[in-house]
């Protein structure tokens, strides 16, 4: 469980997340991609705490902060997706292009 392997794992999750966020049409699926990105970041944070800076408890806190971010974004995201679906019947990005130019 070397640092390198763990960081590659984090990078992989992040990369998949990026792919998902960019490729998915559905808002909910995009959000899943975003969560995966954060997941990767959490892996990286915990890894770097454990394998590079274990002396500092801030590493753990960092992971907590990341989880907070994830939770907040998910909550707000759901609310917004509900909202836009309610008003616009839109569930994919392609349906929202009234604002452009």
């Amino acid at each position: 469980m070397s640092r390198e392997v763990l960081l590659v794992l984090g990078a992989a999750l992040f990369g998949i997340g990026v792919y998902g966020a960019l490729s998915q049409q559905s808002f909910v699926m995009i959000m899943m991609g975003l969560e995966l990105m954060v997941n990767g970041a959490i892996v990286a944070a915990v890894t770097l705490w454990s394998r590079a800076a274990a002396h500092s408890p801030k590493g753990q806190l960092l992971a907590v902060v990341f989880m907070t971010v994830m939770a907040v974004e998910a909550a707000i995201g759901f609310a917004l997706v509900t909202n836009v679906f309610r008003i616009r019947r839109a569930d994919i990005t392609e349906k929202l292009k009234a604002l452009r130019g």
């Binding site: 992040f14 959000m31 990286a44 770097l48 907070t68 907040v72 917004l80 008003i87 616009r88």
Partner: protein
Amino acid sequence: MNGMTVSDLIPELALLVGSVAVLISALFLPRRLQPMNAALALLTVVIAVVAAVALPASLKSGFQGGAMHPWQHLSFSGTYAIDSFAIAAKFIVLGVTALVIALSVDWFRSDPRQGEYYALLLMSALGAITLAGAADMMEMVLAMLLSSATGYVLVAFHRKSRRSAEAAIKYYLLGALTNGAMLYGVALFFGLSGTTVFSDMAAPLRLAGALPLVAAWSLVVVGLAFKIGAVPAHAWLPDVADGAPAPVAAFVTVAPKVGALIVLARFVSVLPEDGAGWRVVIAAVAALTMTLGNIAALWQDDIRRLLGWSAVSQTGYALMAIVALGRSSLALPALVYFLAAYALGNVGAFAVVVALRGLAKRERYAGLARSHPWLAAALTICFLSFVGIPPLAGFAGKLTLFGATIDAGYTWLAVLAVLNSVLSLAYYARFLGPIYFDEAPEQSGASMDRTAAGVAIVSAAALVGLGLGADIVFNALANSVLLR
């Protein structure tokens, strides 16, 4: 110096308490009296401003050092900076918040949930202020989150507005993506330095290799670029300016930007000067941002989108100060002054839109100079300030920004900014043309929101006053040091 002095946070606490108070009052006030929440929110802002004014004074007694500004210090174990720039940002954000509250009274009058609106607005302001003071990676992330999460909701606040919902979701999607990227960057920084506190990071970072450093700061910069509306994460700005409730648009195009630019300054000053390449990248981002913003604004026929794009271009100018950071003593005062001018101009211009009940189409502005001469004058002053026509505040802002940029050895960027200023005149004048040169098509139905008109005029007057009295700002910021 590392004490957890709660008194350092009085303005922030005031906002928090005020926000909760608004929520509670919203629960109990009858619908008829809901607009009272605006007054309460305004009161909160006033208290926060007073607290921010009193802060240095109250701190002075505690620190009797020989330094120029003895009250400036890092608080909460180095995670929070109390310095001139944080306080200046507080003033700007609070001022903007106050003006936006005034804009909102009529705009949200019919909305039964206005209590939540004001509470969220105060929270959002709190986020922006905290962002400006953040001297720690985690604090920065959370402050951004606070500012963003409230911002998304504020943008979506019109439940019956299709555009509002669309703007909010785009705002959110872009924010979440860049935020995700930033989180990874923050994790890397923690790994490289073993800490998240800015003041402790600088030394270990000097030992870090270029590869991880570039990756880390690039990801963080992308996150901050979203907040300030810079390329490549600028795309939300015009859409939000267009779709959001106009007072909210005024707020979210300004307040988070102020906080984020200050924290960006703090952040880059942590980076090693050599071997990180950040200065060139920021310069490139500045160049792209201002040019893109101006070109895209060129043919806008919708004033709200126009303001959105112009907000993009103004970000580009502001970034010039970051480029000059550390190389010109003028950079930070210029940034603060420019932000103040920009905030007033943007709020003033949106106030005109609010006063006209959201009127956005260019052709509908024909003959405004005759039907609403004062509004037309206010809009003109705001626009001309954006262009940088003296003696309006925008001029002194650009002047010092250009000066700092030249001083820092980035003359090409200053030249590009000049070209962009000329370009920007084209689209502002394209709007001013019908206002002054055309006759009004017919009686426009909507009545005028007098409060908003007042805000527009006050902003315009403040632009003139700030322009003439620029010394107040520059003198106050002279010799100030950015804490990190």
